[in-house]
């Protein structure tokens, strides 16, 4: 959907964020290449969630630059960033609880087709929107739960729906915030497989604590420690990196 030939989708340059005197992001430099699956790991309090909040527009940066497909998105509102092709999921499930699973996706599909303030036709008559929503529901394997209110889905179904809603708006760049948080081993394996399937043609950036997910799913890894990137590389390079071992991974995780 994006014909931009630039091999880099997202570039962070000296990105800063401070709350009062407290510097949370202290000059982050990062480039995410088109089509890769890029993990951000780091100890608690390293600023991973803040980084996602800055990229997705939930918080304005204090300094530095963020460029999406070559255009600055510094300080843009979340909806504007989404329309430019970047969507995010939430660590704490964030769905439309009283609406059905299908409708949760359909809201996002409406946005993809630019249907926002349409007051003059029934949503039933929007063939393409309904077809796309059904297709997406199929892809996240919740077809049999189409008419169940999102609040009544099981936790792992809600996590699948969370991924589906992130994909629904058609963004090319997908940010997933701890997609397997709170899941059992089997559920985690299922979720990793699902993420792999549904993001084949996307660029993925994921914050994750589970190292098996990170090393199993991602092509490249950035290690964020105290608001700066300590290292970026392939899983093998990160495993082998002495500074990363010292700062974060320890020995048993590798």
């Amino acid at each position: 959907m994006n014909t931009n030939a630039d091999p880099v989708v997202l570039v962070l340059n000296d990105l800063q964020k401070s709350f009062g005197d407290l510097g949370i992001m202290r000059g982050v430099n990062l480039a995410v290449r088109r089509g890769e699956r890029h993990a951000v790991i780091g100890p608690n309090g390293a600023g991973k969630s803040t980084l996602f909040n800055l990229i997705s527009g939930a918080l304005p940066p204090s300094g530095g630059s963020i460029r999406l497909n070559g255009r600055s998105i510094h300080g843009f509102a979340p909806e504007r960033i989404n329309r430019m092709g970047l969507a995010r999921s939430f660590q704490i499930t964030s769905v439309f609880g009283r609406m059905s699973a299908l409708e949760n996706l359909r809201i996002g599909v409406m946005a993809r087709h630019g249907v926002r303030f349409d007051l003059f036709s029934p949503v039933k008559a929007k063939r393409r929107i309904n077809d796309d929503a059904h297709a997406l529901l199929e892809r996240i394997k919740l077809r049999h739960r189409a008419n169940v209110p999102a609040a009544d889905l099981t936790y792992s179904e809600q996590r699948s729906l969370e991924i589906g809603m992130t994909l629904a708006t058609g963004a090319e760049m997908i940010l997933l915030d701890e997609p397997t948080a709170g899941m059992s081993r089997e559920e985690t394996a299922y979720m990793v497989e699902l993420i792999r399937e549904v993001t084949t043609d996307k660029t993925l950036m994921v914050v994750e604590h589970d190292m098996s997910v990170v090393f199993g799913l991602c092509d490249r890894i950035s290690v964020l420690v105290y608001g700066t990137i300590l290292a970026t590389g392939t899983p093998d390079e990160i495993r082998a990196s002495q500074p990363v071992r010292d700062a974060y991974l320890g020995t048993e995780a590798v």
Binding site: A58, E79, N82, R98, A111, R116, V123, T169
Partner: protein, 425 residues
């Protein structure tokens, strides 16, 4: 589902069209007021039930609609040729414009702060109106006359009633159609999770402002209909009592169901018509009903119907009959005892009674529901207390029985009721 809705519509429409000509003027006026209150509550609930925004200042849009219509009626009286049947549209436009401005400001905040901003804006208008005679006619307000149009002279209440009925029917149909549009679905998503819609590419502030404006539009139409019916409007229509009234109507009826507010507004308007003749304590009864519904049926009266309807195939009706009858009898004992107590107290504290009692030193009997009772008698209060206690005991006994039968019959709790969710293709 669609067929059910059409059936509901026809069942409501036929008696509303056919019966009123056979009724007296008082009833025609009451039905007219019920329709107007219904539309106002439905318009309010677009914002509250569907958009998740609780406005405490909806009298502003209702009132502005009424004043706008009166200005055009006065102009029509002076010779400006405006068709009387289209007057409510003027109220709607006024409500829409004020709604857009107030909505833009109020929706910058959410939750309690949103409610307080709406309250403050309406109070501002309410304080301003009596001092601004050019627009609001000062303290005495504005009044005018309905002009004839195309041979209809709009002189009798029944003509006004049919005009109201037509506007309310069309407005409710449009409000229902709204829930089926993409923007109507977005409104529900906004209510459920405002943050998420922003991250899905929707401008939440613009969305909220538009929902607010449309609610203002239909509130303005309701206010306009009121102005046409009464041929007058004063600043009292902007008061917080009017705002509170629409909140109560909506919650008693049930904000999670499309027709809930219509039910609440109709019943309360009817109740006030019937009761205000009988007792000055009718507002107290309304308040009691409101508190009871909020405590024991938070989804409102329509929520009770909805829960029964959606479980109709599963509930053991024959086994429910006796406990339901017992619960009804107990409720009537409680209501009866409460009514007697309130009515005795009301009459004893009225000035003529006090004067008589103080003058003679005796407490003469008072009449409640046609029964003569002695307010100073121990027996009177013992009987009231006994009836009340018996009712409470009956409720305590039957509630668990009913709850058990419900748990057996329905799978889990009654489903969370909501505005149509099944418009999925």
């Amino acid at each position: 589902m669609m067929r059910t809705r059409i059936v509901i519509g026809v069942l409501m429409a036929v008696p509303l069209v056919a019966v009123p000509p056979l009724l007296g003027l008082g009833w025609q006026n009451t039905l007219n007021s019920m329709l107007i209150a219904s539309l106002f509550a439905a318009a309010f609930n677009l914002l509250m039930g569907q958009g998740g925004m609780l406005s405490f200042g909806h009298s502003a849009f209702y009132g502005v609609g009424a004043f706008a219509v009166l200005h055009v009626m006065k102009a029509a009286e002076a010779g400006f040729p405006f068709p009387t049947p289209l007057l409510p549209l003027v109220g709607g436009i006024a409500g829409l414009l004020l709604g857009a401005a107030a909505g833009f400001l109020a929706t910058m905040r959410s939750g309690v702060y949103f409610s307080l901003v709406t309250l403050a804006l309406a109070e501002l208008l309410h304080a301003l109106a009596p001092n601004w005679s050019g627009v609001f006619g000062g303290e005495s307000g504005l009044s005018s006359m309905r002009m004839p149009w195309l041979g209809i002279d709009f002189g009798s209440p029944i003509e006004v009633y049919y005009l109201t009925l037509a506007w309310v029917a069309v407005s409710l149909a449009l409000l229902y159609a709204y829930t089926c549009t993409p923007f109507g679905r977005l409104t529900l998503a906004l209510r459920d999770n405002e943050r998420r819609i922003r991250f899905m590419g929707f401008n939440a502030h613009a969305t909220k402002t538009l929902v607010f404006s449309i609610s203002g539009l239909f509130s303005g139409i309701a206010g306009g209909l009121l102005a046409i019916s009464t041929e007058t409007a004063s600043y009292g229509i902007l008061s917080s009592q009017v705002s509170a009234m629409v909140v109560i109507h909506t919650f008693v009826g049930g904000s999670t169901i499309f027709l809930g507010p219509v039910l609440g507004a109709s019943l309360f308007t009817l109740f006030s018509f019937l009761m205000s003749e009988v007792t000055r304590a009718w507002l107290l009864y309304q308040g009691l009903i409101f508190v009871l519904v909020m405590l024991y049926a938070p989804k409102g009266l329509a929520g009770i119907f909805e829960a029964h309807w959606s479980n109709r195939g599963r509930l053991p009706w024959s086994r429910l009959a006796v406990p339901y009858a017992a619960a009804l009898a107990s409720s009537m004992l409680i209501s009866g005892a409460t009514t007697f107590a309130i009515q005795i107290i009301e009459q004893v504290f009225s000035s003529p009674y006090k004067a008589a009692a103080l003058g003679t030193g005796v407490w003469p009997p008072v009449s409640v529901l046609g029964v003569s009772v002695l307010p100073a008698s121990f027996i009177t209060w013992l009987m009231i207390a006994a009836a009340f206690a018996a009712g409470i005991a009956g409720i305590i006994r039957t509630r668990p029985v009913i709850a058990t039968l419900w748990a057996d019959g329905s799978e889990g709790d009654a489903p969370a009721v909501r505005v149509p969710t099944s418009t999925a293709a």
